[in-house]
């Protein structure tokens, strides 16, 4: 499958994300924030970083980048979209995902190998994992606290939209230890930790992130 990775001004992990896409067995297509079309890709990844310098709010300005109009349309039509870290923030600002991400409750940037439980393996990005599989991948953020009003939170929990949950410690004050969520349809997934940094033994904490990039093929073949 062709997977587009959007580079915004200030994206940091776009190259790693493209590499992870290739290692996962898919074709990586570089997309630019000012692009007016998605170059025929089958799925899109919004990578981590500090797009537009995180000015105003993280993801607030990126949401209105020309390419995002196409991403929002395509997501509405069912295309798989994965937002990692800053990409998660952009998806929330775009209202493709409920809730928002705010500054870590302890006010410090956090960088650690984080244990997660993949609770929803019914999305095109998590199908390669077993339900409730525990994985350890790197987490690095300053504004990763997931918040939503009580009603929204109850709905996310009730509908099984929590994709991944922090185990051992809650690293940023996220409500209900939420590390990642999906939209109601399940095609749009946002995740604060970085699976693209855990796809090779040589670098990173192991291969636990690879499933996010091999799932697309499994889903397509299923």
């Amino acid at each position: 499958m062709k997977v587009g990775v959007v580079t915004f001004p200030g994206s940091l992990d776009d190259v790693d994300a493209r590499r992870a896409v290739r290692i996962g067995g898919n074709e990586a297509v570089a997309l630019w924030h000012a692009d007016a079309d998605l170059k025929g890709v089958d799925a899109v990844i919004l990578p981590g970083g500090f797009s537009y310098g995180d000015y105003l709010r993280c993801g607030a300005i990126s949401r209105f980048a020309p390419v995002m109009e196409r991403v929002v349309e395509a997501a509405g039509a069912g295309m798989p979209v994965l937002g990692i870290c800053n990409g998660f923030q952009i998806l929330c600002e775009s209202h493709l995902l409920p809730g928002a991400l705010i500054r870590n409750d302890h006010r410090k940037f956090v960088c650690r190998d984080q244990l997660l439980r993949v609770e929803n393996n019914r999305t095109p990005w998590t199908a390669a994992y077993d339900e409730d599989q525990e994985i350890r991948i790197v987490l690095k953020n300053g504004e990763g606290g997931f918040v939503a009003d009580a009603e929204t939170l109850a709905r996310i929990e009730g509908e099984g939209q929590v994709v991944a949950r922090y185990l051992e410690v809650n690293p940023n004050g996220s409500l209900n230890d939420i590390a990642g969520i999906a939209n109601e349809r399940g095609n749009v997934v946002g995740l604060m930790p970085h699976p693209e940094h855990a796809v090779e033994e040589l670098t990173g904490s192991g291969l636990d992130g690879l499933g996010f990039f091999t799932s697309l093929v499994e889903t397509a073949l299923a």
């Binding site: 105003l56 709010r57 607030a60 300005i61 209105f64 929330c92 600002e93 409920p98 809730g99 928002a100 705010i102 500054r103 870590n104 409750d105 302890h106 006010r107 606290g145 918040v147 939503a148 009003d149 004050g173």
Partner: protein, 85 residues
Amino acid sequence: MPKPEILDPQGKAVQGALPRLGFTGVVDVRQGKRFEIELEGEVTDEVLAQVEKMAATLLANPVIENYTVSLEDGAPARSEQGAAR
């Protein structure tokens, strides 16, 4: 402003700093943003509605923030006057 039920870590940091500087009796601090927007021509209801839309679309995230729009006459802004002297 961040909604009352949303944690405001920046406000908490400021609140923590104030007693260290000898300012006592501060019960809570919330930190928000203020935008000063200069408009051309007369500010009609229509123009004001546009500004409301700016606030709801870009300036604030209604999921976590409340906002108010208020109209102030005249320029320059106070902060600029302060800086000039």
